[in-house]
């Protein structure tokens, strides 16, 4: 196990420590550093050779000096896992933060995780009802999906994530989710908000929290989500739980990655983020899914704040290239006082097709969703035209669509933070709202559904 202590540090740079003349050290090995004042820090080997070892220190290198003792622990980073994790709050490095005892390990799991064999995966297809109309109707969430929230600072993404955590359920089933929550660099206030909400609803007893806050070590954020996902994998694939992983804020995670890259003097990719950030993020996001023959599942709900509200920024961009869609929060809608301010137009659930329809949600779902989307998109576009040529220049069809776009935001998007709409209610609401448009313009609705569900025919 732990080897001897070395005092051979040659260089310290940013979060990195360089040392020489060691025993053969494993790539990825865990390291403890003992400072002259007795403080213990932890790190991990990033580069190793006969002559030189590079260690990344999670707590930062403040006060590290040539007298710091470095011990190699003989193994890569592992998380002790057992069902005792459920109901616990741990810090960003996996130590108890709730005053409770150490986790008694049933096994120790490598936190890097192994890739699920694509041949062993099972395609997700179970509809999750979130009770939020915009999501259930237009960007339907599927159990086993990875669907991030693309938000920006000052927007209510946390409220939306919490509402989903509270309300998410399978239609006609009482199978419950347990929440694995992973905080990366968020403020204490935000964290308390999450915590007290989970406490209020009793979800905390069934949750595992990994918490790295804004004033906790930045480099530690590199491992926090890996710990959370390792716990999630254990609970899902060893213990049959359906796990909902919420992690926030991915932007802080990526910034920590950038910091390490800079300290290693790597050639940066776009906007200073490492060239391997796509692969790194994929190693997290791809840990969602379902495995054939296993009962549990991992659904991921990462939250990221887009710097400068810019969706082409590398963080949302690379995320979007990996996840199975995205839910985009709009500042404009938020400023109009609409909650949840979800802009359905750039939002997408790629797995939606596999989980909607007669057997799961309702036979008219696809048709309704397409029509709602199309009518809103056209209505929104007309707002731009109206600003130039005035409303009078619009023909009858365009006038109806323009009006509809307002109703869509006010009645369909807008709902209470505790308002839990069933999918049937959501779809009925869609029909009620769409009835303000003449059916001859509702070309995406199948005639047979109009006959069955249109308010004129329902009575």
């Amino acid at each position: 196990m732990a080897g001897k202590e070395y005092r051979t540090i040659t260089d310290v740079k940013g979060p990195l420590v360089f040392l020489e003349k060691t025993e053969p050290v494993a790539f990825g090995e865990i390291v403890t550093l003992k400072l002259s004042n007795g403080t213990i820090k932890n790190g991990q080997v990033l580069d190793t050779s006969d002559d030189l070892v590079v260690v990344q220190v999670f707590e930062g290198t403040a006060k590290v000096d040539r007298n710091t003792g470095v011990t190699f622990m003989g193994d890569v980073f592992k998380l002790p896992v057992s069902t005792d994790l459920v109901g616990r709050i741990l810090d960003g490095a996996g130590r108890p933060r709730d005053g409770g005892p150490e986790i008694v390990a049933e096994e120790k799991a490598d936190i890097i995780g192994e890739a699920i064999n694509p041949f062993s995966r099972k395609s997700p297809h179970d509809f999750i009802q979130t009770g939020i109309s915009a999501i259930d109707c237009c960007t339907t969430l599927v159990r086993g999906q990875k669907l991030p929230i693309f938000s920006a600072s000052g927007l209510p993404h946390n409220d939306i994530a919490l509402q989903i955590a509270r309300q998410a359920k399978l239609k006609d089933s009482d199978e419950e989710f347990i929440v694995v929550f992973c905080a990366m660099g968020i403020t204490a206030e935000e964290y308390n908000y999450f915590r007290s909400d989970l406490e209020r609803t009793g979800a905390l007893e069934n949750a595992v929290l990994f918490v790295n806050l804004a004033d906790d070590p930045a480099v530690e954020r590199i491992i926090t989500p890996r710990l959370a996902l390792t716990a999630a994998e254990y609970l899902a694939f060893e213990k049959d739980y359906h796990v909902l992983v919420i992690y926030t804020d991915m932007t802080n995670y990526c910034d920590a990655l950038r910091q390490i890259g800079a300290a290693r003097e790597e050639v940066p990719g776009r906007r200073g983020y490492p060239g391997y950030m796509y692969t790194d993020l994929a190693m997290l996001y791809e840990r969602a899914g379902i495995i054939k023959g296993k009962k549990g599942s991992i659904t991921q709900f990462p939250i990221l704040t887009m710097p400068g509200d810019d969706i082409t920024h590398p963080i949302p961009d690379l995320s979007g290239y990996i996840t199975e869609g995205q839910i985009v929060i709009s500042r404009e809608l938020y400023q109009q006082g609409i909650y949840p301010p979800i802009n359905v137009l750039p939002s997408l659930s790629r797995l939606m097709g596999s989980c909607i329809g007669a057997k799961t949600t309702r036979e008219d779902h696809k048709s309704v969703s397409d029509q709602m989307y199309a009518a809103y998109a056209q209505g929104r576009e007309l707002r731009g035209l109206v600003a130039i040529v005035g409303e009078d220049a619009l023909n009858e069809r365009d006038k109806q669509l323009l009006d509809f776009s307002g109703v869509f935001e006010d009645k369909f998007l807008r709902q209470g933070q505790d308002e839990d709409r069933s999918i049937d209610d959501t779809l009925d609401l869609c029909w009620d709202l769409m009835s303000s448009i003449s059916t001859k313009y509702l070309v995406r609705l199948d005639q047979k559904w109009i006959e069955k569900y249109h308010p004129d025919n329902r009575a």
Binding site: E114, G275, G289, G353, A393
Partner: protein, 579 residues
Amino acid sequence: MANEGKIYRISGPVVTAIGMEASMYDVVRVGDEGLMGEVIELHGEKAVIQVYEDTSGIRPGEPVINTKETLSVALGPGLLTQIYDGIQRPLPTLEAEMGYFIKRGLDADAFDMEKKWTFNPVASAGDAVQGGQVIGEVQETETIVHKIMIPPGVSGTIKSIESGDFNVTENIAVLEDGTEIQMLQKWPVRTPRPYTQKYAPDTPLITGMRILDFLFPLAKGGAAGIPGPFGSGKTVTQQSLAKFSDAQIVVYIGCGERGNEMTEVLDEFPHLIDPNTGKPLMNRTVMIANTSNMPVAAREASVYTGITIAEYFRDMGYDVALMADSTSRWAEAMREISSRLEEMPGEEGYPAYLSSRIAEFYERAGRVNSLGGDDGSVTVIGAVSPPGGDISEPVSQGTLRIVKVFWGLDAGLARQRHFPAINWLNSYSLYPPSLNQWYRDNIAQDFPEIRTEISTLLQIESELQEIVQLVGSDALPVDQQLTLEVARMIREYFLQQNGFHDVDASCEINLVYKMAKAILTFQTAAKAAMAAGAQLEDITGVPSRSTLMRGKFEASYVDDIEEMVATMVKEIEATVEDN
């Protein structure tokens, strides 16, 4: 120096060995667990190795053994229907050996080495044979006959050849000089397989997607790039091509993309029917899945593994189509390895050799006369994932410099749910001049002219749209309003094609032509009616026009369309009298 050395340094997927005799691209076994790697750089007595498996926990001082082989694929009966990782290990075998997660250090045969195949010779004792020549056949799947070829570089006179049931490592023939021939061959992945001659392409790869087959055709043996931002339809397009194109063999490479997308293909293909043979699609397919979270070095290798398999089937005389989703992830793997090597970076951190690697890869596409004398082709379709959707970046640019077809996916169209979201204004194909004769001979004499008319209408529309943005469409003269209406019909009826629709996901080429023709017929009839005093609204509102347009969702459309067009023309003529 010996064949065995020791690890000197480990930095992620890059390991340096010391004290080992090595040449470039030697395959080595790294560490106590024997992880597979490949020598990619030599510095004095140090050899730099990219390792195809995760290196955590490996230590300096552990052994490195040089196998003295180059990274190769196994070729022979058993390839079809397989799903491999980037270095040709079958994923089902990995699952059987180590469970649902991919662990490291496992060797696996590319296919069943024991399975007996019935070998039917087509050559006889006494025949002089040379590399590439077909000497026998094996019915590999229901639809594909696997031709057994003399390996390139081998020649002589057949001393004996046997028919019967053999596994791939048993001798099926012996040459006079004693050379033994088996069905199994190996070929180094980074070396293109030789052929006699490359031809200029003259036949389109029919894809079933109207916008591609009609406006921007790809030739068999050609190469196409599909760049587009996330969520714009690269994967759906590639999968449609894998399902519906008229290639005889499909090699599908999931290179650094999602696990679930590969699962979807695996779930779907065995149940989908190949439109060309009526048998399950899986029979003609080889899949390579090295997803984004699998080792990057193996991702780098995956495109070479794929294209070598494609060339092998080409050499049998087949038309092969290869899809690589996404070549950007391959380029990023190169970038990651290169930065670990501390090479001097080129643009955006990519290695300076990026564009030559891209060019070399696409150069392996082509229609050839094989060494055995058969004509075959490899068509390559590469997805590109430019950061932020901006194609001024090195991978897109390197691709566009070499491919002759550009299918540009557009975030705006995807957001409008106009699918396939291929931008008709900036996409292009340079093949029409070489393919027009084929279209004239096989579909219709006026096919190229109809194509020109349709694309001209789309150009005019985009100019008119700029005016409409300023003044609204009602302010335009009626003839221009008609043009807009016709263009709308082209977009919504003709170009839009839902990749998931039971019927319309694929459209046969004759029907493509008839639909294009129907639009022009509408235009002609409408112009005539308007000249005789009919109102545009009455003309566009004739019920038979929407019947015609909705008809594409019915399986019987190809038989009904002409009658529907005739009815529409009559109704349009009638709008003159009503007026």
